[in-house]
């Protein structure tokens, strides 16, 4: 499986955020609410990761609700690729 690194996922996340006229902060502890990153943005990012790896990423909402920071997003998707 063609797994993306955390840094590569971060680049994709930056693209998603940039497309909405915002900038992804360098600090992984940044709260997602500060940058207006919502569940559909997360979905878009996950689908971009899917496109890059060729593997479907499916997940339940409870896992998503625990995500609060930029770092949480990166960790979640990095872990999801390994499942």
């Amino acid at each position: 499986m063609n797994e993306l690194s955390r840094a590569q996922i971060r680049d994709l996340m930056a693209q998603v955020v940039r497309n909405q006229g915002r900038v992804l902060p360098d600090d992984d502890s940044t709260d997602l609410r500060e940058i207006g990153f919502r569940s559909l943005d997360f979905s878009e990012l996950a689908l971009r990761v899917e496109d890059a790896t060729g593997e479907e990423l499916n997940f339940d909402a409870p896992g998503l609700r625990r995500i609060a920071t930029v770092g949480d997003v990166l960790d979640f998707l990095a872990e999801l690729q390994r499942q």
């Binding site: 996950a46 689908l47 499916n58 997940f59 339940d60 909402a61 409870p62 998503l64």
Partner: protein
């Protein structure tokens, strides 16, 4: 058809998914009301076993996956052999969902549709064929959901199946021409298993928007199910929402 006598109250009722939550509450309530009840679920819980022990002459329980039609058929025949014809059906068994549609595995979508829509349609067909073949009248109650009428994120496939059952309820009522009363009960969100899939923010929002100020409890739904099975009414092909007016 205009001369059809009223459909009598159900006396022997089959309840799918009767081992816990609303299903168990329905089984308990119907037993308290003096009916004979056959209940199955994937797993027979200690609570359901306890009811079977308490009412040995009026309860038949079994471990049946609702998607296993052959097993459901065997269960139905065993019930008929023990209690006589089944003249009431409560389609309650269902699986929940808590995932965005775009990130729900295709196998999970298929499982939700099979359990919540295909299986109850098959079970209804099975029971209706038995009733019609024996020249009997009976009643069917489908437990659906407010999700069939209002949109909620994370519940796309689930909502579609419940909407499908609401639609089937109306068509069955027409098709069965007054020989059976077919209705649905659509509860709002319970503060229990099914609602565990919603976030606390979502649940708080629902409570705030509910004039009665609380989420629906199974005890508030079972009287409606019992009424549809037992009371002399002309209610047919209807979906009765029990949600404290949260959705209006």
């Amino acid at each position: 058809m205009s001369d059809s006598p009223p459909v009598p109250a159900s006396t022997v009722v089959l309840v799918s998914g009767g081992s816990r939550g609303l299903g168990l509450a329905i089984v308990t309530d119907l037993l308290d009301a003096g009916l004979t009840v056959a209940a199955f679920a994937r797993t027979v819980t200690p609570e359901l076993e306890k009811l079977a022990d308490a009412y040995p002459d009026r309860v038949h329980v079994g471990a049946v996956d609702v998607t296993d039609l052959a097993a459901a058929q065997r269960f139905l025949r065993a019930v008929e052999a023990r209690f006589g014809p089944v003249d009431g059906l409560v389609n309650n068994a269902a699986v929940g969902q808590d995932s965005m549609h775009t990130h729900t595995a295709t196998a999970d979508i298929a499982r939700i549709v099979e359990t919540n829509l295909t299986a109850p349609l098959q079970l209804t067909r099975l029971v209706a064929r038995r009733m019609l073949g024996q020249g009997r009248r009976g009643r069917i109650v489908n437990v659906t959901s407010i999700c069939a009428q209002r949109g909620f994120p994370g519940l796309v496939a689930y909502s579609a199946t419940k909407g499908g059952m609401d639609a089937a309820t109306r068509s069955l009522a027409r098709e069965l021409g007054g020989r059976m009363l077919v209705n649905a009960v659509a509860p709002g969100f319970f503060a229990s298993e099914m609602s565990a899939v919603l976030g606390s923010t979502q649940l708080d929002q629902i409570v705030r928007r509910t004039p009665t100020g609380h989420l629906t409890e199974p005890a508030e739904v079972v009287p409606v199910v019992r009424m549809l099975l037992c009371a002399h009414t002309n209610i047919n092909g209807q979906v009765i929402v029990v949600d404290g007016a949260a959705s209006i």
